[in-house]
Symmetry: D2
Subunit: 366 residues, 4 copies
């Protein structure tokens, strides 16, 4: 197989209606729009049911790509995996992570570099969402994405980014046979099914172990290398696998780890150190210049305690627990990185131990 | 002067209606209720105009002290400085810091230990609030508190905790001659006046320099050793000075520092190291057992940028910027300390550079 | 039986920490504090999990009664039914409704007047809450309250106000055998159990019909003459029955009706007309002077439609549906009454048809 | 002048990303897309600073018109006045009002029918916004719109709908010379300037009277026939005048009135009666079928009282006063109309007396 190279660019997107930052990448010749395979965006909405910043940002991004590629917006969505997550509470900054890949010159350098593989399942019918059919679709799509990245060993995969379908709220009215009676319930099960599919594909959980358990019933089971987000704009499971491989060229690399709880800064620091960015106690400006992407998937601890101390994230009827969580985790991660850019997403069913989190970091090698 | 000793106890208070944790201190003989001079509490409300958890917690705490001291609740409030701040967003935990002092045996140990001094100004009339009369009252009260603590040199003072008056919302309707037209405006000016009074008393700003400027007009001026919170339950400026002095005995000590911005974890780590608690990168459980109190005063950065990145704290019409801020700072500080207990208060007029913060830490010496 | 008289007074309570309005009633000699049997209060919190204004108001009210009666606050709570509901969204005004009864001179006037009866069940254990044991306790307490009011025929009962227990949030951590896993779920079942108990006692649903159905499973079943609110401060079911009876003297009367949906102003106008207050189209100031109390129990319509139009009450992740609902219903009712005082409470399990409401109005006869 | 006809269509738009309801009008042949001159939309966001549903809805609507007209979206915005207001709290329904006009056959019927006139000012520079230059621009544009509608006498104008510019939040960072330091302040002054310009053009306030007063200084001055909303997507003042004129044909008519306070249901009923829709006490389903559009502009009462009763709309730090207001007014208006569709907008500077409101109703004649 010919050598390939993968890159990730971080672009500011202060307003979800304005993707000129992305266009600037293309205008400056920093990136070929045809090479883009996925764009993940963090938008400034509430990240919950009625967050329309995700759709607005998706349209803005799709319009830029459409203009650059000379295709229409629907064709962009069919070609590029678009993944928007709302919620930039606290010091978090809205931004895009643009993933691209291209052919590369053969090289003798055997340093493992960032590898990107993608796959998309068939369209799922609403009653399949949040059920075994979706788990199987996610499993198959993850395997296909691993193959697309030429990652023979699932251990080479550092991270699996998944977009899973949910019916649009207005589509629920007449629907029957759904896995749960409301959007929140379907989201929960849809993420759970995808996470378990990924877990089986990566070998983190034996496939056979999943037959005996209901989705969500064993929150301890799962992978720690995935981030699944739910979206209403696609009926398919879309998967992007990120790993490191000597078959890929480039100066970008990725690592991931599990956080034990909301305060597990040592795990963050250890991952950064492993990637060549030791914080003492915080990354310097020069180190931060090499930090491209930080992706976190996690949830507030169940119950009302963290390290024995009372928290009120679940008891605040004015602010959703996920909003509390994102604001706090932006501060916790920023203490170590000195940076405000985190693609931080709640809803970590089978992607993290209860109260824990999964973290991926993408860096440019020094 | 006879030797004295000061102590600070941290007590959980998960519910603002339940001060049994405080009572437990007394029941266990860990603290003499008659020695208590101040109680600072963080409560789980929104920390804004309509946060009634502060008053509920104050009543709960006063009732416990009243029963233990055999006096009524009003007498408790006249005797003990009660200071409640709302807002335990994110991972922050509602709790009390109980300050006490007592006579001590003379000792040859000249290690400076925690010193506590208190003072209270005359009652201010509503039109004096947020004006020079209040600045002068705060200045005089701070000097009196320094003298009460026998801190001859203001440099010995690490921290000045101030409770400043604002009229109750319902009292504003008929009032005239007020410094600002609404509660928010009066709060702002009341905190500003007190902070400048403290700054002059500590010598952080020459008193003469304050005559020429309107309150709030020079946000760069001020002290970095104060935390002023506004309250409707007292018409006086109440001041507690905390410092270190060889005239005081005990194993408790305090330090303070300024944070340059919301991500200034290195300043936090440096202060902890100076107090004998080096984080690598986070305090261990044994070190955390020596961490008694963390007090932070600060605000989100003005404008919409932090380290060049866009933030939406001021643009979120559903969640107040202070609530975003507290959640984020709880995470940032917790990354270094590994702990959830911070008395974290917004409204840092003249107490921190814009976007910065002032931090005090109280520890038990190892 | 000797003749009795019942009265209801409405008192403003702008701040939950200040019950001086109530004290003013007693100071002015308008009401004998010893005659008070129940106080219902609407407080300005969010009316949801973390609304502490209810407890603060309860303490303020209990302190006033304790001082007037020369007993302590606990004795007040044992003697008087205290019922606080949070949420004065929109134009709603925080206020108290004070229910009292006393001996009266015999009279030949056979006009039915307001009758008040009270009863309290045994303390329920946490696992009994939201289960049949609670339904039975509510049924028995309602019967006892009917007898206490000397209302022989349940048809004479216009309204049954119920306070039902839920465990305090902090008590849930270690509890086992509960009817639901979280506070919201227990609240739901506790209200449902009480409402069905009331329905059986009033004969609105045959007791036998309830054995076959799980609580909440048949939302169409129930009474339309009850308002059940959950509270953490009592382990008992407390019941106040309000009716009209010729055995009672006085110039106060009560009526109730069911609203078909959130816009059922005609039902409101019809009830007012029946009580001698025809709105054309709104009560005049003179008519409003005779309007003492308005109590509404209802919920937003399930689904996302009202009269075929889309509403977003359930889809707004920043504002709870109950807060939307209370604000809207305050406006709807106020259009007819011209008044801002409604004891308006959400959570109408078995007290109203889905999307409908139950309404009680107390007036002084002209 | 040739006879013209004007029409208004109401279309549901449950989701701001989906304008298929609008497209359905065209597909069904109910309306010629080329006849559309203005679309007003109510979207389900928070209606405040970070409400992106307005922009998303505008794009959805513009895309439908662009496809039908064979022009691009920018050309649509240049041709059609697009006016989106966020906030469908409580029972309010997101929807569009589509205004169209066309040539009509001459007729002998002299019944005054709906007349529509439009005009657009030059682009204003940011420092002109909220200042006299904008007032003059609004005045001139209103006169031009009156002329465009052939309404010789300003008394024929029932309503003036105005879209006024504000700088985008992200544009404020570097700007200088602005009329106010933040978005909220500029919005306030921009609406005020436009409202006074309209008032002068309609003769509701003598132009000379405006020279002596600062914008906003005399809140009692103004018109009661205007609704001004601020938007970031156009630097011009855009004006649509609606009136009744015998020069126009059709079965549509409009009326307007002033509401004295939030509970002024009698004024609503009186206006409906004047338009041939007497409510007794609520419009019947047949009457509602003739109700096309309801537009309300108003604000919560200043201070904390409504008809002497305490309200907490300004003191709720979790929900903005405008959100409380919209929810309550939706209920109040719905009590009379029986309907959920109101284009209800806060920020009534010089458009209503403090605490009052201005109301327009568009109906089909019976």
């Amino acid at each position: 197989m010919a050598m390939r190279t993968a890159s990730v660019h971080r672009v500011a997107m202060p307003d979800p209606g304005d993707a000129s930052g992305l266009d600037g990448l293309f205008a400056a010749g920093l990136l070929d729009p045809a090479a883009v395979v996925c764009i993940m965006g963090k938008t400034p909405g509430n990240g919950l049911t009625n967050d329309h910043t995700r759709e607005l940002a998706a349209r803005s991004v799709a319009a830029v790509l459409a203009a650059r590629l000379g295709i229409d917006a629907d064709a962009v969505r069919a070609r590029v995996m678009l993944l928007f997550s709302g919620g930039t509470e606290g010091l978090l900054a809205p931004h895009l992570l643009v993933f691209a890949r291209a052919a590369a010159m053969a090289t003798n350098d055997r340093t493992p570099s960032l590898a990107i593989g993608l796959a998309r399942s068939r369209a799922l019918a609403p009653p399949e969402i949040g059920r075994t059919a979706q788990l199987e679709a996610a499993l198959a799509a993850t395997r296909a994405a691993l193959a697309d990245a030429a990652l023979e060993d699932p251990a080479q995969a550092a991270w699996v980014q998944v977009k899973c379908p949910i019916p649009a709220p207005t589509a629920l009215a007449g629907a029957s046979g759904l896995a749960a009676p409301d959007v929140a319930g379907i989201k929960h099960l849809s993420r759970a099914a995808c996470a378990l599919g990924v877990a089986a594909a990566l070998g983190d959980v034996p496939r056979a172990a999943l037959d005996a358990v209901a989705l969500g019933a064993r929150p301890d089971l799962g992978t720690r290398r995935a981030c699944v987000t739910a979206a209403i704009d696609s009926p398919c499971v879309e998967v992007m696998v990120l790993g490191n491989s000597a078959s890929w060229a480039g100066d970008t690399t990725i690592g991931s780890t599990a956080l034990a709880d909301m305060l597990d800064a040592p795990a963050v620091a250890a991952l950064l150190a492993r990637l060549g960015l030791p914080a003492a106690p915080q990354l310097t400006e020069a180190q931060r210049a090499r930090l491209i992407g930080v992706i976190l998937k996690g949830d507030p601890p169940p119950g009302d305690r963290l390290r024995g101390a009372r928290h009120v994230m679940h008891d605040d009827s004015d602010i959703h627990a996920f909003r509390h969580y994102r604001a706090a985790m932006g501060g916790m991660l920023g203490a170590v990185t000195g940076d405000c850019h985190v693609y931080l997403s709640g809803g970590a069913e089978h992607q993290a131990a209860p109260g824990g989190a999964a973290l991926a970091v993408i860096v440019r090698r020094g």
